[in-house]
């Protein structure tokens, strides 16, 4: 009996030790330097539980070929096939979703001659599995099929719209459903170059604009006075170059502009960082981020250097930055869902991330210095946030209330979910509850909408009392005026 109790005690001790070990193990996991955060409506960054966690890291040797060398771009198609553009080795590696190699393309046959790739920098794969490669070193964009046969070549346009002194250095390429090709070329700031399906240059599209700032106006003033030589020294006011492209399934183009380059210092605040361009080249992205959060994001953007953007099938926009290794995810209303990621040597940190892709709620990040691909998957919290946002953005506010409440249990600092719950109550005509949630979510405009309806409902309910009250008040005033008149009349008589 005694022995048993002693054993019991030892067992207890072991349990305690194991528990302590687990606790001490957990600390480094949760205190990982890659802290996730969002902005609140005052523009402060608020810590958040992680939305993504590292699920795998893959490099060239894992895949089964020799190691990658400065890979610059990557594409993940709808079936999960991964196309890695191994810039340093001048090849395209095509793998299945489990990273099993299907094919490696490094050169192709043009009119009987072998034509190898030379420092290709951008890749895109359309829905018919045609591969577009921006073959930067050869000043061309090539369209090849999955077998490696060349179909089309896009060369430097002969058009007068294109400044012939500038080299054609394509770095990013996308194509739409009707086989128009959109290309970003280094040194071209007129916008995105558009080629039609016959490989003919169509013109520029969706450029950033030079906004009239005081800087531009003062420059204009000085130019009126200066001599020709001085004018040449002054430099021209040109819009910032585009940095990255992605295209949605319905042919809306997402363009990313980098505000970090010192040359464009004066335009940092004017040009939009992320734009969703319609076929006319107009930005149609409605930014619903609260004012201060927007300001905070812009302030952050000045210290970041965005490298790539990705639009995923659920409407999330992902951006990666290579100065701090930050990944930013926005929902379709451009609210920041989460910001995470950092530079470092450990698993899940980056050195020089150059491309971001998504496949079924997974994020693939290509690092051109570490020469590997990091795969992020959603955490439990992330899954809840994503379901809530997806259901909510479909306009199904009532269905979104359950996932929002679950998010709220895990993270009380997440302002978007208060607004989500508030919207659900608003559509259920529970105005007071909606007002309460909008107040915590600090959304004054939404609060105003709820309050407006609440006020109408109150007035309707007590309409008779209101009328009666106004009548009594009017009578009271009439009585006071009359009394005052008689009093003054009496005074006069006296």
């Amino acid at each position: 009996m005694e022995e048993l109790s002693l054993r019991h005690n030892i067992f207890k001790k072991y349990v305690l030790i194991v528990l302590l070990a687990i606790i001490s193990l957990q600390i480094p996991i949760f205190a990982a330097p890659s802290q996730s955060y969002t902005y609140d409506s005052y523009g402060k960054s608020v810590a958040s539980p992680p939305v993504y966690e590292v699920s795998d890291v893959v490099n060239g040797i894992n895949i089964g070929c020799d190691s990658l060398k400065k890979p610059n771009d990557m594409f993940v198609d709808k079936n999960g096939s991964i196309y890695i553009l191994d810039t340093g080795n001048n090849r395209v590696i095509i793998t299945k979703n489990n990273f099993k190699i299907e094919k490696i393309i490094s050169s192709f046959n043009i009119d009987g001659k072998e034509s190898p790739l030379n420092e290709p920098k951008g890749i895109y794969v359309d829905s018919k599995a045609n591969i577009y490669v921006a073959d930067t070193g050869n000043n061309r964009v090539v369209l090849i099929d999955k077998e490696g046969n060349i179909k089309k070549q896009l060369l430097k346009p002969n058009s007068s719209a294109y400044d012939q002194e500038k080299d054609f250095l394509p770095v990013k390429v996308v194509a739409d459903r009707s086989d128009n090709t959109y290309i970003i070329s280094t040194g071209i700031n007129e916008g995105i170059m558009v080629f039609d399906s016959e490989a003919k240059f169509q013109g520029f599209y969706g450029s950033n604009k030079v906004v009239q700032t005081t800087e531009v106006l003062t420059d204009f003033f000085w130019k009126q006075i200066m001599s020709k030589e001085q004018k040449e020294q002054l430099g021209r006011q040109v819009p910032p170059e585009l940095r990255a492209l992605d295209i949605s399934e319905d042919d809306f183009i997402f363009s990313l502009t980098n505000m970090n380059l010192s040359v464009w210092a004066d335009y940092k605040d004017e040009a939009d960082k992320i734009r969703k361009l319609n076929p006319k080249g107009k930005d149609i992205l409605v930014n619903k981020m609260p004012e201060y959060a927007q300001a905070a994001f812009e302030k952050d953007s000045k210290n970041l250097n965005y490298a790539d953007t990705n639009y995923d099938e659920n409407g999330f926009v992902n951006i990666i930055d290579n100065l701090k290794g930050r990944i930013l995810q926005f929902d379709s209303d451009m609210n920041l869902v989460i910001a995470f990621g950092t530079l470092g040597d450990y698993k899940g940190a980056f050195k020089n991330p150059s491309a971001i892709e998504s496949y079924k709620e997974q994020l693939y990040v290509l690092d051109s210095s570490k020469c590997n691909i990091t795969i992020f998957k959603l955490t439990d919290f992330g899954e809840k946030v994503h379901t809530a946002i997806i259901v909510y953005s479909e306009g199904n506010y009532n269905a979104a209330i359950t996932p929002w409440n679950e998010v709220l249990k895990l993270n009380t600092n997440y302002e978007a979910d208060y607004i989500g719950i508030g919207n659900a109550y608003l559509s259920q005509q529970e105005y007071l509850k909606a007002m309460e949630y909008f107040k915590i979510g600090r959304d004054s405009k939404k609060y105003n909408d709820a309050f407006k309806l609440y006020r109408i409902s109150v007035i309707r309910k007590y309409f008779a009392f209101f009328v009666l009250g106004i009548l009594i008040f009017a009578l009271f005033i009439v009585w006071i005026v009359k009394r005052k008149k008689t009093l003054t009349a009496n005074k006069d008589r006296m």
Binding site: Y42, M435, K439, D443, S444, Y447, N448, F451, K452, R455
Partner: protein, 205 residues
């Protein structure tokens, strides 16, 4: 008339009110301080009780001490500057009278602002234009009162009053400049003393 009735009487009868106050010596520093406290409270009440449909303020950032000091400084410097100029220009008012009428003149502005805060809980965003109009009215009203008040206590003509008010505003700028100068000088003097002290302390060690 009781002294506490003057601020409200002045609101509607500025010309008569200030004259009467002068002849019957209706100035009360105590009442002016009470009005001043209401003016300071206005800032906090505004941030705390404005309807959420008009604006949601960050209440964490309200600082009572700084609000108090700033408001006090503005009125106090105004009074000093006005007194110094009006003494030179044969004004009859004393410093305490200027302080009192300046605060009394603020009454419409304060009252209208408090009314606006109450109204902001009933009105919606689209109707908040009325509030800004009301506040504008309050400011104008207070300006009219302050002009008539200064006219009355110094026994100036209207044009002379405007002239002194412009001078007063310039004077305020000069005073602020001098204050900043003194502050920075003191900072340098203290830092010099501290470095000398440290130097000696290190040598003695």
């Amino acid at each position: 008339m009781k002294k506490y009735k003057y601020p409200f009487y002045i609101m509607f009868h500025p010309l008569n009110g200030f004259e009467e106050m002068k002849y019957r010596n209706g100035y009360s520093v105590f009442i002016s301080v009470v009005i001043f406290i209401f003016a300071v409270m206005l800032e906090i009440v505004n941030k705390q009780f404005t309807g959420n449909q008009i604006a949601i303020y960050d209440v964490d950032k309200v600082d009572l001490l700084i609000t108090l000091i700033l408001r006090f400084a503005v009125i106090f410097i105004w009074a000093i500057s006005n007194w110094s100029f009006c003494v030179l220009m044969d004004g009859k008012g004393t410093f305490s009278k200027i302080w009192v009428i300046s605060n009394y003149s603020l009454v419409p502005y304060i009252v209208i602002n408090y009314i606006c805060i109450i109204l902001s809980n009933v009105l919606i965003r689209e109707e908040s234009v009325f509030l800004s109009w009301l506040i504008m009215l309050g400011i104008l009203w207070s300006v009219v009162l302050i002009i008539t008040g200064i006219m009355a206590i110094h026994e100036f003509t209207f044009s002379r009053t405007i002239y002194t008010i412009i001078l007063t505003l310039l004077g305020m700028l000069i005073i602020l400049f001098v204050i900043f100068l003194i502050f920075s000088l003191f900072q340098q003097v203290t830092s010099t003393i501290i470095t000398i002290f440290n130097e000696i302390a290190f040598r003695l060690r």
